[in-house]
């Protein structure tokens, strides 16, 4: 088992939910903690701490969605230690960053003794805490296309307390070019067994642009892609309802001010 920031792994060890025979600490592996922009691609090292990413000027310039989303990730002391790559590999459907990389169309660069391969974000998240990583593979870095002048983004979530996992959340990105909305991607948090792209909603929004679909149309589109979980406090229906409200807000923002908030 790999130990990066440890903010999810160590609680499980402390509670004796997990007793790995071997724990490999990668924190001192050099070169995994770098953020750089090159040729229209923003590369974030897997070991970059959440606070490092949140405060990075490169990130706020080229992927401001992350800057916004990271303010919702847990609390400062957790963000000081937790890593960008660790959060993706943990693949918690309720976490912010997996949805963000889906919305941004990221590529995840994976290394192993056999070599390296690149996995598109939409192929990375498999299911409940499951990813495409094979035995012996380590996530090394994440590549994001930089947000150009035409790029739009939105992040919001409904949580009962600051830093909590969201009841539902939305990371969304799109480009508006020549009066058309191109490739809008709406990635939802806490709305399935993994972060989910709402493809039907994306199509609907692109087709209608510059008009916006009505709320019941949004709900109908979301029903095709989302399957929110239910727990003792919050029903699937409530999450769906909140997801719909967030989607409507995102679409409104994309239309009104181009979502460049």
């Amino acid at each position: 088992m790999i130990l990066a920031g440890g903010q999810s792994v160590i609680p499980a060890l402390n509670m004796r939910l997990n007793e790995p025979a071997v724990l490999v600490d990668i924190n001192k592996v050099p070169g995994l903690g770098v953020i750089e922009e090159k040729g229209g691609v923003l590369r974030i090292g897997a070991l970059c701490r959440h606070e490092q990413v949140r405060k990075s000027v490169d990130v706020s310039a080229h992927a401001p969605l992350l800057t916004k989303a990271l303010a919702h990730v847990a609390h400062p002391a957790i963000r000081n230690r937790g890593t960008f790559g660790g959060s993706l590999c943990n693949a918690d459907a309720a976490a912010e960053l997996p949805a963000c990389v889906l919305a941004l169309g990221a590529t995840l660069n994976v290394e192993s003794a056999e070599g390296s391969r690149a996995i598109a974000a939409e192929d990375f998240f498999f299911g409940f805490f499951e990813t495409a990583l094979e035995e012996g593979e380590v996530l090394a870095s994440i590549d994001l296309p930089v947000l150009g002048a035409t790029g739009r983004h939105f992040f919001d979530e409904a949580a009962r307390r600051r830093g909590d996992y969201a009841l539902a959340g939305l990371a969304a990105a799109a480009r508006v070019e020549g009066g058309r909305m191109i490739a809008p991607r709406f990635a939802f948090i806490s709305c399935g067994d993994r972060p989910l792209l709402a493809g039907a909603l994306g199509e609907l929004v692109a087709t209608r642009y510059p008009d916006a679909p009505a709320e019941d149309e949004i709900a109908e589109a979301l029903a095709r892609d989302l399957e929110p979980p239910e727990d003792a406090v919050t029903s699937s229906a409530a999450r769906m309802r909140i997801a719909t409200v967030l989607a409507a807000r995102a679409i409104r923002e994309f239309q009104q001010n181009g979502g460049r908030a």
């Binding site: 307390r161 600051r162 406090v233 409530a238 769906m240």
Partner: protein, 799 residues
């Protein structure tokens, strides 16, 4: 001038009463120099971990400890058969709660388990980690029995009886029928009714329950370093059930990391730890981890209430009727019982209002869940929420404003002392003054204007009021008359030291609320010395006078008065000695700033350090028959009323987002009357902390159980507590009505915040929801429930 008037704390020169003195013990805590139980390490100390029941109700068919016993570091693996001879079971009943019953509770499960988390096997090892390693290898076989979790079902005639020897699952019931309730409802101009649900929640002290037991076989003496509220009570209970001479049991309570009623009960794991120390003749430490805390620290509330209120045409309450059903887990908790909360709900509902006709019933029911018992506020949050919700409903029905209907119904100012139909006696209260001051503080009219304006733009804000009474300064009528050895009296010992400083030992305890500062302020004022020259000792049963400790908001009122009386006595003794030395009449002298002075002109005659020097080292210079006594002890029992009731008025301002169901707290105000305010900052901070616990209950906190009796959210990630980000600033102000039961005039303030906040939040929420025509009475108020109430998502389980 009478003695009482001369020593009135309010007009002494250099009085500390009414001043926000900083807490001396805080200085160490901020530097990491606290002394909590887990900070202590004793030579040859062992650690205990427990194998706990995963079942809510089951028969134990076999326990195999062989593998565990072989693990590294393990010293002993114990089941009930090993512990039985070292610790007897206990039964949580009180004589004055007529008919209350419970089963004998063993330290480790004896044949059956009755709730998830009940300790079954104890493992003692050199480290906690090793004990836990071994615990994983203990194999307990269970035959699951039907879990009884729903209190209504538990009372059905064919229900499984949890403790068959008790005959049924009803622990306790009580009824009140005062006046002519049926007639009042028949003749009412308006009747409002409701059903309400009060969530089960818990205390979540940040420092978990902790105990370090050190048995010395040479004297058969047991020292218990405990995080606890009532050291003398614990001393008695551990001695009794471990079969030790009570005089040889010492409880030492250092810093306590929060208690709130959690650390006042008898817990099987703590009893077992002590029994193991006796058995092994070595120190044994038990510190609950967070997961154990959630399943075993007492839980609170868990009430279902139906209630109605009758009013006349002018909106005056003529009658209240209520029925309360509460589930308390599988045992009535020892020694305070789990009947007290429901008893208080009955005693307190409708407390501030002058109605004559009252009928109420409480039923307290066993279930296969963790035990429920007294937690901060005990019954008050329920009683206040029921009364105040009915009052708001009545306001809406009659068209009166929420403040106005309360004004019309408060007990008239000239009616005190007043006996409520529940039997509660109020010495004097200030409901009108508190409410008016509150309305001014929160700019009630301004809030109402803002509310209307905001609604125009689709923003839904609500204002909720709650008036309340709170039980403080209890007399022996609370527990003593019921046969429990829980002291309602408390003592204070003062010793003038040769330096002129004073050592103060008191039976009330410090849990962070500032007791040590309060008693020092009172004693310093009455004696006439600098508060920094008083050193306070609490928590050590070998060193302090016998007392009750921390419960029922009694530290300032009872402990403060004992310090007051002791201070008076010491001062008089000092002046007697000074009079002899100075050849002066004692009445002509005073003590100010640590100096003997002339009472008349304040001229300095002799510092106390000089008096101390003479008394302690040069007794040869004093007259042979003087016998100076510079150590005094005084005790105080509040005996005039069963309790000294305080009162308060709360206001909550919040905003609901109907799209997401999220509730945002905007502001909160409290005006309270705890009598003489000894330390305004500490009173305000007790109030704020209490309010936030009530806000947690209303909005976040709930112990969620499955139908099978499994706690589903027993971690801090899933059990939501109020945090800094969501809490509002809380305005606190006072009205001062000193109690005449003591010279100090102080009443308690520990629980009023918790008592009022759930009601104020609920009323604010329902006020905000008025445009939608819906009401919510099922705490906590989650986004899910808000969306459901608004019809944004469908009813029932599935959408």
């Amino acid at each position: 001038m009478t003695e009482a008037a001369r020593f009135s704390p309010l007009d002494r020169p250099n009085s500390y009463v009414g001043r926000s003195v900083s807490r001396p013990n805080a200085a160490g805590l901020v530097r990491g120099r606290g002394r909590f139980v887990d900070d202590l390490t004793l030579p040859r100390m062992l650690h205990v971990a427990f194998v706990r029941s995963p079942h809510a109700h089951a028969r134990i068919t076999a326990i195999d400890t062989a593998e565990a016993a072989k693990m590294p570091g393990v010293v002993r693996v114990a089941t009930i058969d090993d512990i039985r001879d070292y610790c007897s079971p206990w039964v949580g009943v009180l004589d004055h709660l007529k008919g209350i019953k419970s089963a004998p509770q063993p330290p480790l499960a004896d044949g059956k388990v009755f709730s998830q988390g009940q300790p079954v096997v104890a493992i003692v090892a050199a480290s906690r980690a090793q004990a836990e390693d071994a615990a994983e290898l203990v194999d307990v076989s269970y035959e699951p029995l039907e879990p009884v979790t729903d209190p209504v079902a538990a009372l059905e005639p064919d229900a499984t009886v949890i403790h068959p020897e008790l005959g049924d699952n009803l622990c306790f019931q009580r009824g009140i029928d005062a006046g002519e309730v049926d007639r009042a409802f028949a003749e009412a101009a308006h009747v409002v009714e409701t059903t309400m649900r009060f969530n089960r929640h818990t205390g979540v002290t940040l420092e978990p329950r902790s105990i370090l037991c050190d048995f010395d076989p040479s004297e058969r003496a047991l020292t218990l370093y405990m995080s606890v509220q009532c050291p003398h009570m614990s001393k008695n209970l551990f001695a009794k059930h471990l079969g030790l001479d009570e005089n040889r049991v010492r409880v030492v309570c250092g810093d306590v990391g929060g208690s709130f009623g959690i650390k006042i009960h008898t817990y099987p794991d703590e009893m077992t730890a002590a029994a193991l120390s006796v058995m092994l003749e070595r120190p044994v430490k038990f510190v609950a981890d967070r997961l154990e805390s959630f399943v075993t620290d007492i839980h609170a509330r868990d009430h279902d209430v139906s209630a109605r209120m009758a009013l006349d045409a002018e909106g005056r309450v003529s009658a209240i009727e209520m029925d309360d059903l509460t589930g308390i887990g599988s045992y009535s908790v020892y020694p305070r019982t789990s009947g007290i909360e429901a008893n208080q709900v009955l005693n307190l509902t409708g407390g501030p209002y002058a109605h004559k006709n009252y009928r109420a019933r409480a039923r307290v029911v066993f279930q296969n869940k963790n035990d429920m018992c007294q937690y901060r506020g005990v019954g008050h949050p329920i009683a206040v929420a029921v009364g105040e919700h009915l009052m708001d409903k009545a306001a809406r029905m009659t068209g009166l404003d929420a403040a106005e209907i309360r004004r019309r119904n408060f007990i008239p100012e000239d009616a005190y002392p007043y006996t409520a139909p529940s039997g509660a006696i109020y010495e004097r209260q200030s409901h009108h003054a508190c409410l008016e001051k509150l309305l001014e503080a929160c700019d009630y009219k301004g809030l109402r204007r803002d509310q209307s304006a905001q609604r125009e733009s689709g923003v839904y804000r609500g204002i909720g009021l709650a008036s309340l009474v709170e039980i403080t300064n209890p007399s022996p009528a609370f527990y003593g008359v019921g046969g429990a050895r829980i002291a309602s009296q408390d003592g204070c010992t003062l010793r003038l030291d040769p330096t002129g400083g004073v050592t103060l030992a008191t039976g009330v305890t410090e849990q962070g609320q500032g007791t040590e500062t309060i008693v020092a302020q009172v004693a310093a004022t009455v004696i006439g010395i600098d508060v920094n020259d008083i050193r306070v000792i609490t928590g050590d049963t070998d060193a302090v006078p016998y007392g009750g400790g921390t419960w029922a908001s009694r530290g300032a009122g009872i402990g403060g008065e004992a310090a007051f009386q002791a201070g008076k006595a010491l001062r008089w003794n000092i002046l007697g000695v000074a009079a002899t030395i100075l050849q002066e009449r004692a009445e002509a002298l005073d003590i100010r700033d640590g100096c003997i002075v002339n009472a008349k002109d304040g001229m300095e005659r002799m510092p106390l350090s000089e008096l101390g020097r003479i008394v302690y080292f040069r007794g040869d210079t004093l007259p042979k028959d003087l016998a100076p006594e510079l150590v005094v002890t005084r005790h105080y029992t509040q005996n005039q009323y069963p309790f000294c009731f305080t009162n308060a008025a709360h206001a909550c301002h919040l905003e609901v987002d109907p799209a997401t169901g999220l509730i945002r707290l905007l502001n909160y105000w409290v005006v309270e009357d705890c009598g003489t305010v000894i330390n305004p900052k500490l009173v305000a901070e007790q109030t704020r902390g209490g309010v936030v616990q009530g806000l947690g209950a209303a909005l976040f906190e709930e112990c969620l159980y499955s139908g099978e009796g499994q706690l589903m959210n027993g971690s801090l990630a899933e059990y939501l507590l109020p945090m800094a980000g969501e809490m509002p600033d809380i305005f606190v102000d006072h009205v001062t009505t000193p109690t005449a039961t003591s010279e100090l005039g102080a009443k308690g303030v520990g629980e009023a915040g918790t008592a009022g906040a759930p009601a104020a939040v609920m009323n604010a929420l329902n006020d905000a929801l008025q445009p939608f025509g819906v009401e919510m009475t099922d705490m906590p108020f989650t986004p899910e429930k808000v969306l459901r109430a608004l019809g944004r998502i469908g009813g029932g389980g599935e959408d």
